[in-house]
Assembly symmetry: D2
Homo-oligomer: 351 residues x 4
């Protein structure tokens, strides 16, 4: 059985999807749509066998297409995905799944109603590093999780229809939710648009019921690219540096704090490290390839994806809370997990 795939959107990210589908066993990279004829020509040059079109409807309407992958601006995710689901296609959508909880809920319902796969591009859950971290945490190696910090910054690639949190934080949020298996109770966010009105630097603070807290930092305005996650448990600690080409993950012994007296500057400068560090070997595969394979398998078997519509919903629910918090000047917002609307938690008066 071969899954015939149509890709909508051939801009920044689409070609990566096309390349992976093209090379995937069990899949046929059949059609690609984009409004820009130049992009389509580029795709045709790379993959002459792919049928290209400026009318995405061709993909939706084609009886030869089993699955649609959407790599367009977020504002259009719901439209393309819902039409494809209604047409009986399996659907994959880039992160974030859509621009509101309501839109995502609609997609989830459509997928269930039509018994189709709905998958979202939380790509990092398909990396060897996250896989290894998940195993370590589930095995209790880290002990009780206390605090998580993520840093996803670089220069440029400004989006126009979403702010930096909606653009970059889905990766961090999906990683945090997957690794901890927990939902945050409170969310607050700060941020500002320096280049335009759209926030280009922003931060999220998440509080969980059991005392775990997490910080997520996103920026399009940093000169030095960082992809950095710290996970602190009461037994061990992890640092996952995705920018490192070879040694992405480090496991730190918590170690014992010793009284520190320094008589020389040298001693002082070299201090602050206790316990061994282990850098485990990781699976070495392009994450998008693992993701594509998983999508194709889910289409074949009807299996629920690792990053399905519900996961996309969870992330968008948190993102919506961050927007509420930003609009409220950084106020703490309680995230509703029961279908209730989000509400702002007024901080106690401190005066």
């Amino acid at each position: 059985m071969t899954i015939r795939v149509g890709v909508i959107g051939c801009g920044y990210w689409g070609p990566n999807l096309i390349r992976n589908v093209f090379q995937m066993k069990g899949a046929e990279m059949a059609m690609a749509a984009d409004l820009d004829a130049g992009r389509l020509e580029h795709i045709s040059g790379l993959y002459p066998s792919v049928h290209t079109t400026t009318d995405y409807k061709e993909i939706i309407d084609s009886p030869d297409i089993d699955a649609v992958m959407v790599a367009t601006p977020v504002a259009t995710h719901h439209r393309f995905a819902s039409e494809a689901l209604r047409a009986g296609k399996h659907v994959y959508v880039e992160k974030p799944l859509a621009r509101s909880v309501a839109e995502v809920e609609d997609l989830v319902e459509l997928a269930e109603g039509n018994d189709r796969v709905l998958m979202v591009g939380h790509t990092f859950l398909y990396t060897g590093a996250v896989e290894k971290m998940k195993a370590l945490i589930d095995d209790g190696e880290l002990g009780a999780l206390q605090y998580i910090r993520t840093m996803r910054v670089n220069l440029g690639l400004f989006q126009k229809d979403i702010n930096v949190l909606w653009d970059l934080a889905p990766h961090d949020l999906s990683i945090i939710l997957y690794l901890t298996g927990k939902l945050p109770r409170f969310v607050s966010a700060s941020g500002k648009g320096h280049v335009s009105d759209v926030e280009d630097v922003a931060s999220i603070y998440l509080e969980f019921d059991d005392g775990l807290v997490a910080y997520v930092f996103s920026s399009w305005l940093d000169p030095h690219k960082q992809r950095y996650t710290t996970i602190v448990g009461d037994k061990k600690m992890l640092v996952y540096d995705d920018v490192e080409p070879q040694e992405k993950l480090r496991i730190y012994d918590r170690g014992v704090e010793k009284p520190a007296y320094y008589d020389t500057y040298g001693d002082f400068a070299f201090s602050y490290r206790y316990g061994d560090i282990v850098t485990p070997m990781l699976k070495n595969e392009e994450p998008l390839r693992a993701l594509t394979r998983h999508f194709v398998e889910c289409c074949e078997t009807g299996r629920q994806p690792l990053t399905g519509g519900d996961d996309g919903l969870t992330v968008v629910r948190i993102l919506e809370a961050t927007s509420r918090s930003l609009a409220a000047g950084g106020a703490k917002v309680e995230v509703s997990w029961e279908g209730k609307p989000l509400k702002v938690v007024a901080p106690p008066s401190a005066a």
Copy 2:
């Protein structure tokens, strides 16, 4: 003229002061006090000529002492510093200068009233890196400052009488204030104590009147030491990584954002860098030596220190605002710069 120095506190940081004073031309490292006889014995072993005592009063009362350096827990800063100022000594105090605005104001007044030097240990202002950054910013190389981010994290050295912001953030705040020459209007803070009730991981968000924002992150719970500052202007950007042994400062061309289409994973993985980077040569001296020399010079000449009582006051004013914000669940707090009390700015209702 030789400045005869007494040091109160020979624990973690005191020996660094003692060593620098001992080696400083124009200064005599005369007396050292600590409650712990073992520490004093250690100091005597290193510097036999230094008179040691478990009674700090000996230093205060000695007519042979011109200047007192205080390296004790923060709770005692005001007591030792005020007694020394009253006794007509010049005074240097480790950061933060004291534990409240009121205490600091008292010290500032005492210093003025007695015409004595009052200096605070905002050590990083004496580094070659900060000196270079100041020059670059003042020369307009960076253009208008947009956003600053600092990261000061490591494992351990938990303090008992102050939280992690009072312990580590004075460095970042003093750097930010010095480099920008601006005072923040609003401050909000988040944080939590994971090891005890005292916050050991916390973050500050600062808003300035002209649109500049700054993020300060402090942690005692991170396995990998970081001392990282990013300063973004609309012309150029700086990254100051104090953990780097040789190349601490980088100046990034802002560069132009180009449309980015990636057909291969490799292209994607190596992307996100535009423009040249310059790593300037920096003055290479132990910061505490430059600081000590400056203190001795100020004592000799009566000159106002680069990091005087007013600077200590500014930092403590912000720290007090962060404590207010933390107590108010992260609420935005307006920092008073007119002698008025701090007040919490209730975030607008978002419901």
Copy 3:
């Protein structure tokens, strides 16, 4: 005009060629040959339109093939390349071009006689880093070149038919020859096989007529991958670290040596750096894509490639000298550049 390409060898490196040809405008990835049917099946899965065969003769004999790319073990390079040239194909061969000067000379002659392109895979000459270094050197930025050092080490990928110098050093030698525009007069080599009889760790020392010397170090036995080149001129110095994902090239001011007195360990530990460093922006393209495009252009236009048969010959001439030196226990060997045979230069007796 479309260049129709056949690739012989689908093992370790062949798929990279196939992928690049497949995506190259002006080229058609037509046929692929390998003895291993499993590899061919893999290629077919990735690129269904490519005709695969276990008989390379099909490629040689096909009138539809304009150019042949050879990515097989070195021992077979001459056979495949010479047959292809005789059949009137343009030919690209992985480095080293062949296993002896005689073989390479034969290929060069065949290419000239048949008026065909002969190109060798000195891939690094197609990187942005080498391009930039060449421009800097040609512009006189570095001054007179004094010394070059290269380090190309990693764990594994042991070859059976050639030693580590023949495997890895072609990259370094081609870079050195290209950047300097000079030929070495003397070569000596040391090395040893630790895993088998084939040298897996080895080093070359090259002496040029004008006093320039170069060290090339190659290893299959190092746990930490390094791709590191240092180029020292009497004005400036370059470091090219190809393992760095983002900042591969650094330009160092030579600086002035200052008298160095260190009173503290810290000063000492942080010393040894004079002058600014510039990290220039580099072209960011997969080198093999630039190489493939160049090959296709040369086939179209008949233009001489940047890395043609003569360049392959120069490198193999040096490699042959290293083998002579290794066999002679590290003796210095004069490299013949006039068609004369290599001869060992007996070192003066030192006893």
Copy 4:
């Protein structure tokens, strides 16, 4: 019992000795000699209690001095050390111990004849990293050692009376000899002086009887400081990077070589790493302090130092062989370990 120490030479390295002796329990930093009155004034400023003199004879002749530490140019080591030993002092000498085997043998004899301690400044044997490596090797963790590579390069600090090998390689040689417990049979060296006639870039190749080989690279002409040692055993491998401020030592699993097929550039770029890496916690003390303490203890107890005269002799014997090899155009030289003179091993004719 207090060991009263005189230091001869207060230039580049002397102040580090003085500082450590000054702070060492059981030692008294009594006298310091230098020809340069300015240097002495500097020392007096730092340590007023130290008696300074421009006449080293004062130290030799003083009955109050138990031990002499020599930190002068190599050409004078033998003179100062032999006079001190004859005067009944214990002696410590910076590396290399002296400028010839004959000189060192004389010192060793004098020390034995006078029953005095003779110690040489092979400082790195007092680091936590070397201590840990020694334990790992002795415990068999690495298996049989196959190959060692060291890199000690930086810009400047050119010496006039010795070449770069005599200056820098003693550290590497002493580390190699200590860790392996083996003596090399053959030595060859290459090198050249680019700034003056004195070799400022040079390399040594050492062959041991059991098949172990070692490469030592020394340079005063490299813009980027490196202090890098790789040790390859047939079970595990070590990398010791002394420039790293926090994580100096890494232990690599040898891992199994897997067949490597790469379909994407990204896979290729991120390849070449098999097995876990462990970064062990190391003792964190200034090496020179540990060395100074050891010297004082040896003076007190008469115990043989870890880096005694014999170790200095071994290193100088190898250095002398490298000079012989350099003079012979890189010829292989057999190192004599039986008191026999060094002889050049003429490489077999390769013509």
